[in-house]
Amino acid sequence: MSELDRTIHEPARLRILTILSGVDVSDFNFLFSTLGLTKGNLSSHMDKLEKAGYVEVRKSFNGRVPHTEFVITDAGRTALSDYWREIDAIRSLHGKGGD
């Protein structure tokens, strides 16, 4: 059994990736208002997901207002799907132990 992906194995980032995997694109405000994190914390998590290659960041301007959108990458989808497979494997071990 391989080790769990530490980037995803964090409650906020797992929720962010899960939300992004259900939609095509989401902006910063949507994730901010949905998750209830602080802006700094959300930015930090998005930065980590981007560095891991799990999220693509698209920056643009609506007039003079900066607008940031996020899209889950193929690598992000694969990592999320692998993560759940690992969790299922762990859960099945728990079941076999009769605990």
């Binding site: 259900g22 902006d27 209830g36």
Partner: protein, 233 residues
């Protein structure tokens, strides 16, 4: 994931904004059309010419607004403003976000031509005004069905063609609600936009519910998380 997608598919404020624009333009077309009818009856060629030109220009404006980039951007800005801090999220599925395919434009153009033809048939008494709504539904119901599938809209969107089709069947059976006298022509207009508005409002109500569910799930056990232990410097 499920609730995020359901929410994205039921964000209907952009449709509400388009609905308002289209209703205003259709009202303008309706006024011009009524004037054309009156002018034709009283053989007033000056008024007839002016009202036909006004009707044509409004139809061109409506068509241009529907397909132009400027119209799309205006709707986008108003929609974003109305959603405010709720943010933006979208789901198109495997449909590519590009220029409108030719067949969609053709079907949209066909819709306008079909209804104009129906109005002419009514004007010259080839089609009874009572049958205008069922005549319209014969094109609108399959057209809306195709658009809903193409745009990957949520369940709420089906309310529109279903209600409109049921109204047409009820009218053909002589039991459908209809306006009388000089307002009879409005039966179709009120039906098409009324059914659309009901669908949009149901979609909006559902989006509130989906967002509430999503927030509840996304925030459960999720305080403003500090960095994990292995992430601390």
């Amino acid at each position: 994931m499920r609730w995020a997608r359901r929410y994205a598919k039921s964000r209907t404020i952009s449709f509400l904004v388009q609905w308002v624009f289209i209703v205003l333009m259709v009202m303008a077309i309706g006024v011009a059309g009524s004037l054309t009818n009156i002018a034709y009856r009283y053989n007033n060629m000056a008024l007839f010419s002016v009202s036909v030109i006004a009707m044509g220009m409004t139809i061109i404006a409506l068509s241009w607004f529907s397909v132009s980039k400027w119209g799309g951007e205006l709707i986008w800005r108003i929609t974003q403003w109305l959603y405010g801090e709720e943010g933006y999220v979208s789901y198109l599925g495997d449909r590519e976000d590009g220029p409108t395919p030719w067949w969609v434009t053709t079907l949209g153009g066909g819709l306008v031509v079909y209804h104009l033809f129906g109005a002419i048939l009514v004007s010259f008494n080839y089609l009874h005004i009572n049958n205008m709504q069922p005549y319209s539904a014969a094109y609108m119901v399959p057209f809306l069905g195709v658009m809903i599938v193409y745009q990957r809209l949520g369940f709420w969107a089906w309310i529109w063609p279903v209600l409109y089709g049921l109204h047409a069947v009820a009218l053909l059976m002589g039991i459908g609600p209809t306006l009388r006298g000089q307002w009879q022509m409005l039966t179709m207009i009120i039906s098409v936009f009324g059914c659309g508005l009901i669908a949009i409002l149901v979609g909006h109500a559902y989006s509130r519910f989906a967002l509430w569910k999503l927030k509840r799930l996304a925030r459960s056990g999720l305080p403003d998380c500090p960095p994990a232990e292995d992430e601390l410097p």
